[in-house]
């Protein structure tokens, strides 16, 4: 008789099954998310140790009145998740805090296990009295502020702000032009003109420097030119005689030099002649 009292359910009640299904669903979601979080953590750990493989500035030259700095960096992503929406902005300021220019990269994506090559290009106008002019002639520290935004593993946005100073070697550090005392040579007035500077940049300077010697009244007394092939770390110190007009005195005037590289000319600041 007792057996007749046992309420044997072949199948649990609907409300029980619903609650059980919800719990199982929650557990499955939890396990999946824990596995996902664990893999993201491992992947991020891998990526953090080998993200930037190389960082080089490959080209620096002066053209069109600009100081063009070109370069690239390689971003490797050894993790399993993509680095998406990569955007980079870099602001440069000279050692007096004057803004020089801004570089932007992206948005771009580096897939998991992939490598991205990003090109950087910034053109700094070096016209007289411009903020970048001092970069040609004065070694200094450049203030670099960089901001990067990425989304890692689809769900984790990451913002990085970097601030640091980089030493800058001027390509014409200590540029100095002097006009010596004119002398009479074979009936012609000749003045020795000397150009001096040190190439503290990382590239070889190749091209020509032409110059004009003006009197105090603005009359052109003479002109000449130098060719240059100056490796990094070298000093340029050359002198040549310049024929001067017999009716023109350079004293109190100025020397105007122009740099020509690959067909483009940049005018240097005038050098006063004592």
């Amino acid at each position: 008789m007792t057996a007749l009292l046992v309420p044997v359910y072949r199948q649990p009640p609907a409300i029980y099954r619903a609650a059980r299904a919800l719990r199982r669903f929650g557990i499955i979601v939890l396990v999946l998310l824990i596995l996902y979080a664990g893999s993201v953590g491992y992947s991020a750990y891998e990526a953090a140790h080998a993200t930037v493989e190389s960082r080089t500035l490959t080209g620096v030259l002066v053209a069109n009145g600009n100081l063009d700095i070109g370069g690239s960096f390689t971003l490797s992503n050894p993790g399993i998740y993509p680095i998406a929406g990569l955007e980079l902005a870099v602001r440069l300021a000279n050692d007096t805090g004057v803004h020089l220019g801004t570089v932007t990269v992206g948005p771009d994506t580096v897939d998991g296990g992939g490598t991205g090559l990003f090109l950087i290009s910034i053109s700094l106008p070096i016209a007289a009295s411009s903020a970048a002019e001092s970069l040609l002639f004065v070694d200094q520290y450049i203030e670099v502020n960089a901001w990067a935004n990425v989304t890692y593993a689809y769900l984790f946005p990451l913002s990085v702000a970097l601030s640091e100073t980089r030493s800058w070697g001027a390509p014409f550090e200590g540029f100095h032009a002097t006009v010596g005392t004119p002398t009479l040579v074979n009936g012609t007035i000749v003045a020795p003109v000397t150009l001096f500077w040190a190439n503290h940049a990382s590239f070889t300077e190749q091209g020509a420097i032409s110059f004009v010697i003006d009197s105090a009244s603005g009359a052109q007394c003479g002109s000449g030119g130098f060719s240059m092939d100056v490796p990094p770390g070298s000093v340029y110190d050359q002198t040549q005689g310049v024929d001067l007009s017999s009716t023109c005195s350079p004293a109190g005037g100025e020397l105007l030099a122009s740099l020509t590289v690959e067909g483009s000319t940049t005018t240097f600041p005038p050098e006063p002649i004592p």
Partner: protein, 167 residues
């Protein structure tokens, strides 16, 4: 005179097809589970936070907060397990999931995690709110399950016991 009919007796759980572990056994199992949960919810996070803090990096949440939330979750989880055969199981399930949900929401409010890399040259802001918002599905679902269990226990007390504790 016929013999009086025997007084009706309530069927035993075994007769009903289930067997509830003793209170002492449930307390013992809950304590063992507590150890594992303590490692996951308290010891491990606190160890990570302490390590990060020792490296001079600001931590996103205080160690005291992690400990408080973790211990609260552990106590409620242990109580739920011990009281699973009773009608308190449903409300305790809701309470555990509610606290877990509130814990996750508290963490969402702390996102993004901002810190400065030692040396001061770089600062990082790491967002994790989207992940936590997805994770909040888990306690939300558990709350629904707790509500269903509470209703079931109110309407049909003991109906679930043969399935929770099959003999």
């Amino acid at each position: 005179m016929s013999a009086p009919a025997p007084a009706p007796t309530a069927p035993t759980p075994e007769a009903l097809g289930y067997r509830i572990p003793s209170l002492a056994y449930r307390i013992l199992v809950a304590a063992l589970r507590l150890i594992l949960s303590f490692v996951v919810f308290v010891a491990l996070p606190v160890a990570v936070l302490a390590y990060v803090h020792s490296r001079g990096v600001a931590i996103p949440i205080s160690i005291a907060a992690v400990t408080t939330w973790g211990v609260l979750l552990l106590v409620l989880t242990a109580a739920r397990y011990i009281l699973k055969p009773t009608v308190a199981y449903g409300p305790l399930s809701i309470a555990v999931s509610g606290v877990f949900f509130a814990y996750l929401y508290y963490l969402v409010l702390l996102s993004p995690y901002r810190f400065v890399i030692p040396g001061g040259s770089a600062s990082v802001a790491a967002g994790y709110s989207e992940f936590l918002e997805i994770l909040m599905i888990v306690p939300a679902v558990e709350i629904l399950a707790g509500i269903l269990t509470t209703v079931e226990d109110a309407v049909h007390p003991g109906e679930r016991l043969p399935f929770d504790y099959p003999a």
